[in-house]
């Protein structure tokens, strides 16, 4: 199971009050995790990735294991600790505006 930490506004939108746990079919990548996330919480469609291009929204970042994964290919494998559930994938709203 993969743990995902959402920013507060998206937790509110998805009506969850803690980390999200996802079962991902096949290889765990940014794309497959986000697909699973949006399937479980359809309200998040369009909030993390563009509806049409499926690209990461400009002010969204992906962190895990103290690394910034934002610029990696969405099809690159996620770190092993994320895959085995010992470390979460953080979806973060970029620092901006203050």
């Amino acid at each position: 199971m993969i743990q995902v930490v959402l920013p507060a506004h998206l937790r509110t939108l998805a009506r969850v009050d803690s980390d999200v746990t996802l079962e991902v079919q096949g290889e765990a990548t940014q794309r497959s995790v986000l697909d699973a996330l949006e399937t479980k919480y359809p309200v998040l469609q369009g909030a993390i990735r563009d509806h049409v291009t499926r690209e990461r929204r400009p002010y969204i970042r992906f962190f895990a294991c103290s690394e910034d994964l934002s610029l990696q290919s969405p099809d690159a494998p996620l770190p092993e600790q994320v895959v085995d559930g010992t470390e979460p994938l953080f979806i973060v709203g970029a620092i901006a505006g203050g």
Binding site: A8, H9, G46, A47, H51, I60, G93, A96
Partner: protein, 371 residues
């Protein structure tokens, strides 16, 4: 006894303000969707409990929220706004071609007869419609297909379609306005559109009388006279007596003819309201006095309304969708400011009182008159 419900969108959430017909004591509910920009909330004329709210964020994009119980509870509905076909380009601020990109919903206009049908005016400018209560959205692409789209350009607030007016006597006729393209009208339910900007004069575009390119800030109509339109443009207040075929300036004795809001008295179709704002660079009230101006002659002759409004050291703005009127016997007039005040006049503008003073910057104000 009749009641009113004021729907307020702000930079940091939505608020619902409720009162009885006296409009003296108010209950405040909110923030709804705290921390998000709520550009607009509007109720269905066919079912006052049906509300639509535009919730957006620079980080997380657009959400559409729907309430079926007058704002007690909300449900997120469809947020997929995809331009029809290849979006094409419009002018950027520097005149270069810029691709059309969806940013947010500025305005919802629910159908006059069907609670599940609602129009959305969006940035970058386009008109969408949902006929299933906001679950799915389709662009009325004939507007951008008019052919003038490459000459549209963003105003300071973005290239937004901010005004949608449905003709109560003709279900096929819709008026819209875009900053900065101008006003348009369809007579066939949105399939084809024509610009309705004859008579507008805008010094800030190469041809001041061009077919498109005008920075229209807001348009208002009285439902009993759908052929008469009133416009607050970037500069100039204008009226049209022929459904937008031509416009005449009616700025008259206003202290400045710049401003954003314009609205019409609920029972007197020739009584109109504006809030003059000093421009081009300041965007606050002239002489630091917050004054609503009322004309009972459909323009040209204006009187300042000041009782209850700050008359010194006032530097707020009143944005384009932040004025509304109720339809009680004595017409109520409402407006919100970028300083977070929402004012009400229960006597058609003669006197004012703040309903709330310290909300986040107000983006929009709508009012429902409830039985």
């Amino acid at each position: 006894m009749s009641k009113v419900r004021v729907l307020v969108g702000t930079r940091k959430g939505g608020f619902l303000l409720a009162s009885d017909g006296k409009r003296e004591k108010w209950d405040v509910s909110g923030p709804h969707f705290g921390g998000w920009e709520i550009y607009h909330i509007k109720g269905s004329p066919a079912d006052p409990n049906r509300l639509y709210a535009s919730q957006c964020s620079g980080w997380f994009g657009q959400q559409v929220q729907r309430s079926d119980d007058g704002g007690g509870t909300w449900t997120p509905v469809g947020n997929k706004f995809v331009y029809d076909g290849i979006p094409g380009t419009h002018q950027w601020y520097d005149g270069t071609a810029h691709p059309w990109e969806f940013k947010r919903v500025w305005h919802f206009e629910p159908s006059l007869t069907d609670p599940d049908t609602v129009y959305a005016g969006v940035e970058d400018a386009a008109l969408f419609r949902s006929s299933d209560g906001g679950l799915n959205w389709q662009e009325l692409a004939g507007l951008r297909g008019h052919g003038s789209g490459p000459r549209w350009q963003p105003g300071a607030g973005g290239m937004c379609l901010h005004t949608v007016i449905l003709d109560p006597t003709d279900s096929q006729r819709i008026f819209i306005a875009i900053s900065a393209a101008g006003a348009f009208r369809t007579d066939d339910g949105g399939q084809t559109w024509q610009p309705i900007n004859k008579g507008l004069y805008s010094q800030y575009i190469p041809d001041p009388t061009a077919e498109v390119g005008h920075c229209v800030h807001h348009v208002a109509m009285h439902p009993a006279r759908p052929g008469v339109l009133f416009m607050q443009k970037h500069w100039d207040v204008l009226r049209s007596d022929n459904a937008g075929e031509s416009w005449q300036e009616v700025s008259g004795n206003l202290p400045t003819d710049f401003g954003f809001v314009i609205d019409v008295h609920a029972h007197e179709p020739e009584t109109i309201y504006v809030v003059p704002i000093k421009s081009d660079s300041e965007h606050f009230p002239p002489d630091a006095k917050l004054r609503v101006y009322r004309s009972k002659t459909g323009g040209n002759e204006w009187e300042p309304l000041t009782k209850g409004l700050p008359q010194s050291n006032c530097y707020v703005n009143v944005l384009r969708d932040a004025m509304a009127v109720d339809s009680l016997d004595e017409c109520g007039v409402y407006f919100g400011t970028t300083g977070g005040q929402v004012y009400v006049s229960a006597d058609a503008g003669d006197s004012w009182m703040p309903i709330v003073r310290d909300l986040p910057a107000v983006l929009s104000v709508e009012v429902q008159t409830l039985a």
